[in-house]
């Protein structure tokens, strides 16, 4: 449970090396989860990661490395709310996966040793609840265990705890509840222990944070501080907040063309929804609004966009009263004044749009027929449409989105799609590259040697397709770079 820091001497270099190794493990687990790996697979991946990165010569040495790296990262990740949350989530996942790997008897022994004080059931209570317990276990697929329950009362089969201690199990209805007690089977002890682990770690992180800011950081200024500060900034994915580099500025007028070319389906759909319905509900305004902010739409342009689109149903004053606050809020100008980051795929997929709401992930929410129609309207090749729909049907929403990307841009997408803004950036990159190649070819054809002029803004690219003969559709068709054939 990492209650006591390890005692002994350790070199600064070792701390850094160990910490980086552990960071690889945690990051690996996060990636696996993002890719939608389920528990058994995730467990294999995690244990492999642990054995490659955290194993040392002996059992003792491994334990030492485990503890040192954990405490080193605690220091590195205690400094902000976001870092703490990330670290807490990954460490808890790692703990749970490793705990699961232990034999049930060892797990029970661990519980006894840690004196967590979970109550076992006496036989009268077990008899009374037996049919219900069996029902729950059958329901979550533990058929063998349910069968043994029918035959007798295995000792330590269940622990009785207040339901507050196992929120995960409660949320998924994986546990029997009666009068405020949760009856946790020994196969789910990981949740119980995991809950304690989480609570303890969360508390320690806060304490560490306080100590670090109050004096440690200053005391350790030349020794640990640089390491600690650099550690947390490595390996963490891009969150597309506004500080990330100088983006090109996009104007409201450019949006329709950009939407057609480079928005992922979810954003394209919401964009069209706003333009057709002249209205959008709160969740949608957040999802689309933050995305637009992150592609480089400044506040004034955003205000212009929303005001114009909403105008038919919500003129002037009413817009100011009802929605302007909302737009400014997205840009961190109202309320808590925090500069909100756009939603990632994970967040979008997990949202639950009601009927007639436009947010959420279309690959998840829509029926196959709706999807095919929408993707067809994006002028994707039939094969790409088919591929995307099949993947969506199989529950691989992000892969489906990647297929659509490949179809729309006629190029490979080997990084996968995990953020709508990543889709957009990749799309801009691909289109610019294709455009450059194409121009080069043109220039080589007409004026060899003068191929140094590069497209400067998206706006110049947008006009491109109109110059070219469009074989299949109107001039506004997305530039399906057919330069290989020309």
């Amino acid at each position: 449970m990492y209650e006591e820091p390890p005692e002994g001497e350790v070199t600064i270099e070792e701390i850094e090396r160990f910490a980086l190794d552990r960071l690889r493990v945690l990051k690996g687990i996060e990636d696996a989860k993002v890719r939608g790996k389920k528990s058994a697979e995730l467990q294999t991946i995690a244990l492999e990661l642990v054995s490659t990165h955290l194993k040392a010569g002996s059992r003792e040495a491994s334990r030492w490395k485990d503890a040192v790296s954990h405490f080193a990262l605690r220091l590195a990740f205690c400094r902000t709310e976001d870092l703490r949350r990330w670290f807490l989530a990954q460490e808890c996942e790692l703990f749970r996966l490793r705990f699961r790997d232990e034999l049930p008897s060892d797990q029970v022994a661990f519980i006894r040793q840690q004196k967590l004080g979970f109550q076992s059931l006496d036989s009268a209570e077990f008899e009374e609840l037996r049919p219900l317990l069996v029902k729950v276990e059958q329901g979550i697929g533990n058929r063998d265990f349910a069968a043994t329950l029918l035959q007798g009362n295995p000792s330590d089969a269940f622990f009785k705890v207040p339901f507050e201690q196992v929120p995960d199990l409660v949320a998924q209805r994986k546990v029997l509840l009666r009068k405020g007690w949760a009856y946790v089977s020994r196969y789910e002890i990981a949740h119980l222990v995991g809950g304690r682990f989480r609570a303890a770690l969360s508390h320690s992180l806060n304490v560490t944070h306080r100590r670090w800011t109050s004096h440690l950081a200053a005391d350790e200024a030349d020794r640990l501080t640089p390491i600690v500060e650099s550690l947390s900034s490595r390996y963490l994915g891009e969150d597309y907040d506004s500080s990330a580099g100088n983006r090109e500025v996009v104007t409201a007028a450019q949006l329709p063309a950009l939407a057609r070319q480079s928005f992922p389906l979810c954003m394209q759909h919401m964009f069209n929804h706003v333009r057709e319905q002249h209205h959008m509900q709160h969740q949608g305004r957040l999802q689309l609004g933050l995305f637009l902010k992150a592609i480089g739409l400044p506040l004034e342009e955003a205000m212009r966009f929303w005001r114009t689109e909403f105008a038919p149903r919500c003129p002037g004053d009413a817009f100011e009263k009802k929605y302007a606050y909302n737009v400014r809020y997205n840009y961190g100008k109202e309320g808590r004044k925090s500069d909100y980051t756009p939603y990632s795929c994970l967040k979008i997929i997990s949202s639950q749009p009601g009927k007639d709401q436009a947010h959420g992930c279309p690959y998840k929410v829509w029926s196959a027929a709706q999807l095919s129609a929408a993707l067809g309207a994006m002028r994707l090749p039939a094969s790409a449409v088919h591929e995307a729909v099949t993947k969506a049907k199989g529950g691989h929403y992000q892969l489906a989105c990647a297929s659509a990307f490949e179809g729309a841009h006629q190029c490979d997408c080997d990084t996968g799609i995990n953020h709508p803004n990543q889709y957009y950036d990749e799309s801009r990159k691909a289109l610019t590259a294709q455009h450059e190649q194409q121009q080069q070819q043109q220039q080589e054809g007409t004026a060899p040697g003068s191929g140094t002029k590069l497209p400067a803004t998206p706006a110049t690219q947008l006009r491109m397709p109109a110059k070219r003969p469009a074989p299949t559709g109107p001039a506004s068709a997305p530039p399906k770079m057919s330069f290989q054939t020309s």
């Binding site: 209805r173 994986k174 709160h282 009263k321 749009p353 009601g354 929410v365």
Partner: protein, 476 residues
């Protein structure tokens, strides 16, 4: 509906903000669609008289102080003072972070400011009026306790009710609320072990629940979220259809047992869901078998063409047709097991999709979410948000809820009656409600909710006192 959503969402967004100006609210009301005929006097003009003469502020105080008054040695004397009240003044101005020393102070503020609406927020670690002094400190200004609350609104049933939509409510769709009360009440008591649950009519088209056990008040946001997830089965739209997530769990079985008779006897006939093809198509879409869908549709089309004499009997009969059709497939040996299973599951999901309570989960998940106080007056309908007992939910009549003008009429009648009889005693301050039709609602509130709650609170403080007495005193 869209606008009502916005309104809720905008409010939610504001509540997420710890630091916020006290006055601002670009809020918008949905267009009024009240059942009441337009009154000569707008509701807002009656509110001062209502707060002054009728509003049972003393009972509100007794509830929210949770026995922490000066009568008890172990009481936390600043308890009530740390509770946030939010007033919505006329013109949609939000005034957050109000707090009061006691019921009398609350009463005085109500009469002075005359809010159109009162919301109740969490109880904080410090007096919310003084929150700025604690801003920026570690553990500065945080919610400490909050009732576990639920909000169910009939607008969320618009896709399954045929009698009306939006702000509409009538005796045909109230049964949705009645069954929601029964399902939730059973789960909260039997599964989670809560005892002190207050049910309130929200004034127009929905209901609120306040779970007031100490244990409920001390839940973290994560634990609240887990309870809300446990209690919801509707998981948004997927593949173009409502996604219902059922599990083999005793609580789901219990709910199914309550829902099925209600679905067959009340909702199907009253909402006429199987009488025209548009509606029955969406019911049948839960059965993953084209053949059944087709057979039943064409049979019913033919029946409709001949004309339906008794609509109620027809609704019942048609559901029987559905059950029979599924049973026939399930009892056919040759049929693949997967399909049998899917059909039975579909049948169950159909019932849950239509009648299982649709919670507005965001309200329940966060401690700092505001909820309209009981005994407020709905600004559009003029109806009082009256408490009711869970067992009375099926017979509760939303149209018979007393309105503020009615209560004031009753009150002044009583007052003038007393003035005519010089011998009669003057009315006690704070007891005006006893002479109006609010009295019967308040009897429910006091007897079935407040008294047991206070008894439990005193019991708890008593045991705390005994514990303290058992500890050797270190005062010397």
């Amino acid at each position: 509906m869209a606008e009502a959503e916005d309104e809720r969402a905008a409010k939610r967004q504001k509540e997420g903000e710890a630091e916020q100006a006290d006055v601002d609210m670009p809020d918008a009301e949905a267009p009024a669609a009240t059942a009441d005929p337009p009154k000569q006097i707008p509701v807002q003009q009656l509110m001062r008289a209502y707060y002054g003469n009728i509003f049972p502020y003393q009972e509100m105080y007794e509830w929210l102080v949770y026995s922490n008054d000066s009568r008890h040695a172990q009481a936390d004397s600043g308890f009530f003072q740390r509770r946030e009240f939010c007033f919505t003044l006329d013109g949609d101005i939000f005034v957050r972070y109000q707090s009061f020393k006691d019921g009398a102070e609350l009463h005085a503020a109500l009469v002075r400011q005359v809010p159109a609406k009162i919301d109740i927020g969490p109880m904080y670690n410090v007096d919310p009026r003084r929150r700025n002094a604690y801003a920026g400190l570690e553990n500065g200004f945080q919610p400490r306790q909050r009732e576990l609350v639920f909000d169910i609104d009939l607008t969320d049933y618009d896709d399954v009710r045929t009698c009306g939509s939006g702000g509409h409510i009538c005796s045909e769709c109230w049964p949705f609320m009645a069954v929601a009360v029964q399902i939730l009440d059973a789960a909260l008591r039997d599964d989670f072990g809560f005892n002190h649950i207050l049910w309130v009519f929200s004034g127009r088209r929905g209901i609120h629940a306040w779970v007031c056990d100490k244990r409920a008040r001390e839940l973290t946001d994560e634990q609240r979220g887990s309870i809300a997830a446990f209690l919801s089965v509707y998981k948004g739209q997927e593949n173009g259809q409502a996604k219902i997530l059922l599990s083999h769990h005793p609580s789901i079985d219990r709910a199914h047992g309550l829902l099925l008779p209600f679905w067959k006897e009340e909702i199907l006939p009253r909402q006429k869901l199987l009488l025209d093809s548009a509606h029955w198509r969406s019911v049948l879409s839960f059965l993953p078998d084209q053949e059944i869908q087709h057979t039943l549709s064409s049979r019913w089309e033919a029946e409709n063409a001949r004309g339906i004499a008794d609509e109620e009997a027809c609704s019942r009969g048609r559901w029987q047709d559905v059950e029979d059709a599924v049973a026939r497939v399930v009892n056919t040996k040759a049929v693949d097991k997967g399909l049998k299973f899917a059909l039975q599951k579909g049948l169950k999901e159909c019932v849950f999709a239509h009648v299982y309570p649709r919670l507005d989960v965001e309200v329940s998940k966060k401690r700092n979410h505001l909820l309209k106080a009981p005994l407020c007056v709905h600004p559009k309908t003029g109806k009082v948000c009256v408490p009711f007992a869970a067992v009375d939910a099926p017979t509760f009549d939303p149209d018979a809820v007393p309105t503020v003008s009615q209560l004031l009429d009753e009150f002044s009648a009583e007052r003038s009656a007393r003035q005519e009889h010089p011998g009669a005693a003057a009315m006690e301050k704070g007891e005006g409600w006893k002479h109006t039709s609010l009295a019967s609602c308040m009897t429910v509130f006091v007897q079935s909710f407040l008294q047991p709650l206070c008894a439990a609170g005193r019991e708890e403080l008593g045991s705390k006192a005994r514990e303290a007495a058992a500890q050797p005193s270190l005062a010397w």
